[in-house]
């Protein structure tokens, strides 16, 4: 059903007409906003620029670049988290809602370890070593968390109606988030200060070092993961299970083990993202995982779920869209206080993509039973 292309047909029912209207309206809003923005950039005295928003000022090149870079850095983290969603969805066909919390656990672990290291003085004296250490610790902790989660909450539910594991994962998400509150306290917790080269803006093209680091590490992780999944035996097992678990089992693949590996890998990626988050924003709180988690899932869907490259691309799209969207499209349209609507823009991107291209930018790769 879901694969049925409807493009060939004209709208038939009221719902179809409405959806067509929505698609057109969404595209119109984006187009008009963008045009007004471009008009603004050409000249702020332009009547078209002033049409909706008389106070419009436009952006300078440096500001625009800043927006894009911050969007990419943020999006790279969404992408890393999205990989976990995408892999689990690809294999088990359900949203592990709690994956965002695994990311939070990673950021928290990093915070605790780095503060201990800072107390011991090692953080200042050997920053790179400390960084590697906290990454290792956080990756291990996150993988473990993900694996335990799978064992305790999801494995007993395999084969039950679809919504059941989804609801369970909402429970797990809630539990982890609030466990962090009661164990670690509700206040935001800071990472120790990072060296100046991460904060300085003169590293490369005036981009902050931390953002470059985030983008590089995310890219590297992505490549490693891609290699693991596409080029190794375990990776083949994963893809086989994703394709059809029953047949994979018949072919002698240990499905449980493979699923555990998928969770562990997803957890590792989330742990990595958690550390990057900590390095970039240097503060973590129990809700750190929730919205980024949902946006990361949106990213996975936007990219085409089950598709690794798609997850990354989706993450970058959502990151950049929520970064530039408010100023590029909403402000020229005369909306005030646009930054407040950032999350709304991110979700609007998700809805828009699903409206225009239901299987995501790169197409879905789903377990066989979900295709029909």
């Amino acid at each position: 059903m879901s694969r049925r292309a409807r493009s060939r047909k004209a709208p038939r029912t009221g719902v179809d007409w409405f959806l067509t209207f929505l698609r057109v309206a969404a595209l119109t809003v984006v187009a008009v906003g963008l045009l007004a923005f471009i008009a603004q950039e050409i000249s702020t005295d332009n009547p078209f620029a002033r049409w909706a928003n008389p106070d419009a000022t436009g952006l300078t090149g440096a500001q625009f670049r800043g927006l894009i870079v911050s969007g990419i850095a943020q999006g790279a983290m969404y992408g890393l988290i999205a990989l976990g969603y995408s892999m689990v969805y690809g294999v088990l066909g359900f949203i592990n809602f709690a994956h965002g919390e695994v990311f939070m656990v990673g950021a928290m672990t990093g915070m605790i370890t780095s503060n201990k290291l800072a107390d011991a003085g090692y953080w200042e004296s050997n920053f790179i070593g400390s960084l590697v250490l906290i990454v290792v610790v956080s990756v291990i902790v996150c993988s473990l968390t993900a694996v335990i989660m799978e064992r305790v909450a999801y494995r007993p539910l395999r084969g039950s109606p679809r919504l059941i594991p989804l609801i369970t994962s909402i429970g797990v998400s809630f539990f982890l988030q609030n466990a962090s509150v009661v164990l670690l306290g509700p206040a935001a917790k800071a990472y120790p200060d990072v060296p100046d080269w991460l904060k300085s803006k003169h590293t490369f093209l005036g981009i902050e070092g931390a953002r470059i680091l985030v983008i590089l590490v995310a890219a590297a992780s992505m490549i490693c993961l891609w290699y693991l999944v596409e080029r190794t035996k375990s990776g083949r097992a994963m893809r086989a299970v994703a394709e059809d678990a029953e047949i994979a089992e018949l072919m002698g693949i240990d499905v449980n083990r493979t699923i555990v590996k998928v969770f562990a890998l997803g957890g590792a990626m989330a742990g990595m993202a958690g550390i990057l988050w900590g390095i970039l924003f240097r503060s973590v709180i129990h809700t750190t995982g929730f919205l980024p988690g949902i946006k990361a899932f949106s990213a996975a869907v936007v990219g085409g779920i089950g598709h690794l490259g798609g997850a990354m691309a989706g993450g970058l799209s959502i990151g950049v869209a929520e970064s530039v969207g408010p100023l590029l499209i909403l402000e020229p349209l005369g909306v005030s206080g646009v930054s407040q609507l950032r999350d709304a823009v991110a979700f609007a991107v998700l809805i828009g993509v699903l409206l225009l291209r239901p299987s995501g930018l790169f197409g879905e790769r789903l377990p066989s039973e979900d295709r029909t």
Binding site: P156, L166, F175, A179, V181, L183, Q340
Partner: protein
């Protein structure tokens, strides 16, 4: 092997009982595993500060506080649980004996060991950073204000004792079992319901009674606790399981008899709900009103999730739209909309607008796969809250300053319902709950309701059977939205102000927990779920009877959701249909074993009707 498998529901067939197992042959790994899991849980609870906070709440004064109770329950449960025998076909069930007690003892010992270890660690290491509750206060609680070694010994002893007690519970016959459970429930219930009981007793002029029952400043006084236990134990003995019998009888009733019985129950419940608030004070009425608001929300979500099988995580959007529409239309202070409408008139507009918003949100999402739909609705819920919050639309909705000075809900000029009089709010909520119950009850048993169920079962086939799944699902979405908006409109009139902060995603999740906990697809279950969760633990911003839990409320909600899904996915009070769905394999097997499945070679179905229906 699978310990997470729930015990099957319904009465177990009486299996032949073999002689008790010897006292010291155990599945040691099982004991070690259960003990350490429980120990881990103990340490988690201790470090979550729950015992310290809950220590303020006395159950039996001065012997037992809720704080210690939560620490005692785990070793007890572990001890009880390890005595559980996995039933296999043709395997005789061993009669319980010393084996269970010894096993419980060991299990409890390991569990208690967790806290003992914690006491040692707390003394020697300082982990206050990052574990905020790693403090001398905790040690003080664990050691009963003594030295560390005392804590070590006492928790080993307590753990072992509770574990053994759990084992002993296995030894008891069903009758003593019932008596013990009744006694424990009576005392715990009296303690939990304290403020409610006191409040109602005051209205009935029974203060002398409650003054004796409860110690000053809370908790059941220990002599009263003993008395209460004695009385309830006695009642349990005298009752001889009549309650259960009555339930079984009711379950077996049919046709007119059943209708009569149900009618009787409904009338009795209605009478209690109408009369009780008259005698109860503000406290009880406020509680009832809050529970009622959530019943309304949960009934609405139940239509969407329970009947049509659409997991809507942005349900709070409709609550918000209902509240804001009512606020904008009725409040004189609201920006933009000038003529202030009476509440009832506004309600009509609220219904129309929420219906439209339901359509607007529903149309794009309704064709999506179930789990995409969940996330996208969540996104819509957030978008709507952000729009209400935004500076951009603050000219309409007040932005972060919300809308205040919302007048109460005037009912035909007879009365005005506002937050100052929770009793009236409750009656108003009650009236709407009745409407909502009627709507969901009638729709469930109509052509539309059947179509919803078909869609929930198999959308492709439903479509192939001529059901316009898009329209049908959309209608479920809209009906749910409208029911939710009722709650919103009452909420606005009750609180007298609306702020975007009342409409976080959290609310959606809490409503979902309520529906799941109560039993998806079942009206009675949903009501019971709200009463227990919202009434006792409290809602997102509403205190419950156990206000001390407020810090841990969400944690408990999360744990409850997981546990419910693993152990009892059909909920507290399941709908028959839902149970079937979730336990299809088990039930099909059972039916087969009981010979209910027709054997085609043996001819048609005109044989004798089987005695028990699944």
């Amino acid at each position: 092997m699978n310990t997470t498998l729930p015990p099957t529901t319904g009465p177990q067939p009486e299996a032949p009982r073999a002689a008790p197992r010897p006292a010291f042959t155990h599945d040691w790994r099982r004991i070690a595993r259960m003990g350490s899991v429980a120990a881990f849980g103990q340490v988690f609870i201790a470090l979550s500060n729950m015992p310290v906070r809950l220590d303020e709440r006395l159950i039996v004064k001065p012997v037992l506080s809720l704080g210690y109770l939560v620490l005692l329950i785990l070793p007890f449960a572990a001890g009880y649980r390890q005595g559980h025998q996995i039933k296999r076909e043709n395997m005789p069930v061993c009669a319980p004996g010393p084996n269970e007690v010894v096993g419980g003892f060991l299990c409890g010992l390991i569990t208690g060991g967790g806290l003992s270890l914690l006491a040692v660690l707390v003394t020697h290491f300082d982990l206050r950073e990052p574990l905020v509750n790693w403090s001398p206060v905790l040690l003080d609680l664990l050691s009963f204000s003594n030295e560390m070694w005392f804590a070590v010994v006492i928790w080993l002893a307590i753990g072992a004792g509770m574990g053994a007690a759990g084992g002993v519970l296995r030894l008891l016959g069903p009758k003593s079992h019932r008596v013990v459970v009744t006694m424990a429930l009576a005392v715990a219930g009296a303690a939990v319901l304290e403020s409610l009981v006191v409040d109602v007793a005051e209205g009935l002029g029974l203060e002398p009674l409650t003054d004796r029952l409860y110690a000053p400043r809370g908790g059941v006084a220990w002599p009263s606790a003993l008395g209460l236990a004695a009385v309830s134990g006695l009642l349990a003995v005298l009752g001889r399981g009549r309650f259960r019998q009555a339930r079984v009888r009711h379950a077996q009733m049919e046709g007119a008899q059943r209708t009569r019985a149900n009618l009787g129950l409904i009338i009795a419940t209605a009478a209690v709900l109408i009369v009780l608030p008259l005698f109860a004070g503000k406290l009880t009425n406020e509680l009832l009103a809050n529970v009622g608001l959530f019943v309304l929300l949960a009934l609405g979500l139940n239509v969407v999730v329970g009947l049509a099988g659409i997991l809507d995580l942005g349900y709070v959007a409709f609550f918000a739209v209902g509240s804001y529409t009512a606020a904008v239309l009725t409040a004189a202070t609201s920006p933009k909309i000038a003529p202030e409408m009476p509440w009832l008139v506004a309600l009509i507009v609220v219904v129309i607008i929420t219906g439209l918003v339901g359509l607007f949100i529903g149309a794009p999402v309704i064709r999506m796969r179930g789990d995409y739909l969940a996330i996208v609705t969540l996104g819509f819920g957030e978008i709507i809250r952000l729009l209400f919050l935004s500076d951009w639309l603050s000219g309409w909705f007040g932005g972060s300053q919300g809308i205040t000075k919302i007048p109460g809900a005037g009912i035909f000029g007879i009365t005005e319902v506002s937050g100052t009089d929770p009793r009236r709010v409750f009656y108003l909520v009650l009236a709407f709950c009745v409407v909502a119950i009627y709507i969901s009850w009638r729709l469930e048993r109509s052509r539309l309701g059947r179509a919803w169920m078909a869609v929930r079962e198999d959308e492709t086939v439903a479509e192939a059977m001529g059901i316009n799944t898009v329209n049908v699902k959309l209608l479920a979405f809209v009906v749910g939205a409208v029911l939710g908006s009722f709650s919103g409109a009452i909420f606005a009139a009750k609180v007298g102000s609306v702020f975007p902060a009342s409409f976080l995603i959290l609310v959606s999740i809490v409503i979902l927990v309520v529906v799941i906990f109560g039993g998806m697809g079942n009206i009675i279950g949903v009501i019971a779920g709200s009463a227990v969760l919202i009434g006792v633990l409290g809602g997102p911003k509403q205190p419950g009877l156990l206000a001390e839990f407020s810090e841990f409320k969400l944690l408990i909600y999360g744990a409850l959701l997981i546990w419910m899904m693993l152990a009892r996915p059909e909920g507290l009070i399941p709908s028959v249909r839902r149970t079937r769905e979730l336990r299809q394999q088990e039930m099909a097997q059972d039916a087969w074993l009981r010979g209910q499945v027709d054997d085609d070679d043996a001819g048609g179905a005109d044989g004798p009707r089987p005695a028990v229906q699944p």
